[in-house]
């Protein structure tokens, strides 16, 4: 009898497992992540999505975006049905305030326990209910040691000895943050005057700046075309690793740290499967293998074991606690402030009256040439008539 019961129980379990497995097999989750932001099986890395499908039977339709703003427009525009998205910190707070995120069921994400305490309940998600950090990093200055003295402060980016060799961020929040650190402001200040003051400082810097760039910084630094520029630590680590004369410094005024977090949109139809995916990515072994390829920092100390030792010990990827404590994160700004920031940024980049004078001169020059050609042709025709 006992044996029979045991047998029945086993059968039930097997059937149950079989049923859930077959139900899960049909599910496909839509994952929307940054481009080049997951280990994909090339260069001997682990193919994370394939591994997830192998273990759980859930198919992954993996697509990529280029900026938080494209992610937002996809979500807000409708017509796209995502189950897992990876917004940065300020976009998490924006989506959260608009009610576009679903609260996570942490019972389905047991691996959340591995996330380091300083990343739990962050400022952008105060209750810690809607997001699980995926990667993080800080902003610092990269500089060419052949030409530039040791950098300790953001002031270096205003040093006119390096005029024409300085690069600057080509997005408003990151660029303004640097000016705000110099002025000792809160990065998320809501006082319009603070922003104007920061814009003023950026305008002063403009004549020294060679270019406002994002990923072109790699080429420009490597070829020596530019001598220094601020960038994200994880992205640019490869620069420091491969060139002897490029160094990284975190200025003493403090810096901003960014987090890209895993979230589930409120519209998701496969929340359970999405949570399984998030849980999978938080598995220290997976997170380690993933970050080893991506080159960003993982928020899990336990995952560092699975990283290559150079990466796990590099101050570029894991800066000192002191630095991290002084770092601030962006929070979404209210509508009126963020449109003011966009306007000020446009002013900084377009430049003052000096720029438009050059533009007018160029247009006048073209006009002169055009008139000269017409006059010349007329004369030629006249001569031919005669």
């Amino acid at each position: 009898m006992k044996k029979f019961l045991l047998f029945a129980l086993c059968l039930c379990l097997l059937l149950g497992a079989g049923v859930t497995a077959s139900a899960e097999e049909k599910a496909t989750i839509n994952v929307y992540n940054w481009g080049e932001y997951i280990a994909n099986g090339t260069d001997g890395s682990m193919d994370i999505n394939a591994e997830f499908t192998r273990r759980t039977g859930i198919e992954v339709n993996y697509t990529t975006f280029d900026s938080n703003e494209s992610l937002y427009s996809k979500l807000a525009g409708g017509g796209a049905d995502y189950d897992v998205i990876v917004p940065s910190e300020y976009m998490v707070s924006k989506l959260l305030s608009e009610g576009r995120l679903a609260p996570l069921d942490f019972e389905n994400i047991p691996n959340f326990q591995y996330i380091d305490p300083q990343f739990k309940n962050p400022t952008y998600d105060p209750e810690g209910l809607y997001s699980v950090p995926y990667t993080w990093g800080i902003v610092g200055i990269f500089y060419n040691t052949d030409y530039v003295e040791e950098v300790t402060s953001w002031e270096a980016l205003w040093d006119d000895r390096y005029a024409g060799k300085i690069l600057m961020f080509d997005n408003p929040r990151d660029a303004f943050a640097i000016a705000q650190f110099r002025l000792g402001m809160d990065l998320n200040t809501q006082d319009p005057k603070d922003w104007e003051e920061a814009a003023e400082l950026l305008k002063q810097q403009k004549p020294l700046v060679q270019a406002y760039v994002m990923d072109q910084i790699f080429d420009k630094m490597e070829s020596g075309e530019a001598w220094m520029g601020p960038y994200y630590s994880g992205d640019a680590a490869i620069l420091v690793d491969n060139s002897d004369n490029i160094a990284f410094a975190v200025p003493e005024e403090g810096t901003n740290y960014f987090v890209d977090a895993l979230c589930i949109p409120a519209t998701s139809q496969h929340k359970r499967e999405a949570e399984a995916y998030i849980n999978f990515l938080c598995d220290p072994e997976i997170a380690g293998a993933n970050m080893d390829y991506v080159g960003y920092s993982t928020p899990e100390t336990a995952a560092k074991e699975y990283l290559s030792p150079e990466m796990a010990e590099s101050p570029l990827h894991y800066p000192s606690e002191e630095t991290v404590e002084k770092a601030q994160a962006f929070v979404n700004l209210p509508q009126d402030i963020s449109s003011q920031v966009d306007k000020l940024w446009a002013e900084v980049k377009m430049g003052g009256p000096g720029e438009s004078a050059v533009l007018i001169a160029i247009i006048l020059g073209f006009l002169m040439v055009y008139i000269a050609i017409i006059v010349y042709k007329r004369r030629k025709r006249k001569r031919e008539m005669e």
Partner: protein, 268 residues
Amino acid sequence: MKKAGGRIYTFLVFLFLYAPILVLIVFSFNDTETASRTVWSGFSLRWYEKLFEDRLILEALRNTLLIAVLSAAASTVLGTVAAIGINSMKRLPQRIMMNITNFPMVNPEIVTGVSLMLLFVFAVGLFGGRSLGMGSLIAAHITFCLPYVILSVLPKLRQMDPNLYEAAQDLGCPPVKAFFKVVLPEIMPGVVTGMIMAFTLSIDDFVISYFTSGTTQTLPIYIYSMTRKRVSPEINALSTVLFAVVMALLIVINVRQGRAQRAQKEDA
């Protein structure tokens, strides 16, 4: 002297047109750790190897090709039928029709993209669907490929002797058979050219696809999404492959056209 000047000018024009592509092709063979676009460090095929290992890129490529084949086929059929209809219209309606057909070509792509997205989101909501995807992409691609097919088929129809079709029917051929036996062979070069054009247009479309893709990813969108981190030289390799494919198709079009013209001259 004058001839040399002309040659130099032509050379400069071609240099201006092709130098960027040439640089891209050369750097797709660059052997570098840092994925640099400016420092040359030796010949290698590593980016091609990596490209063909990368499942995400290949999946995007598969989507792109699938969409291109389906939308080229569909727009060719629709466009040919439309061209036959337009050709047999009276003068005024024909003009109006041609203007309507040409409009999507001169309309900025971004306007077409946004309006198609709005339409599709509305339609999907109406029928209880959840997301745009392959279907909406194919529909959008057919939409913007159609005018090109019509424009390449119409001239062939105009060149054709209108009495041929009637003669076939006089000789007892049923209309459908007359179309396939007499009309279609006459306009075939135009149909094929139109189809190849639709195919290449569909492969490299970004703007319209960007708005109508939903959760499906095509190659151009995938490449664009790499711009936050550095754009990997895999993309150089892939662009080289794509460039070669498009180039080959264009050469096929031109050779076909050249042959058709020669054949006509011989006939005449």
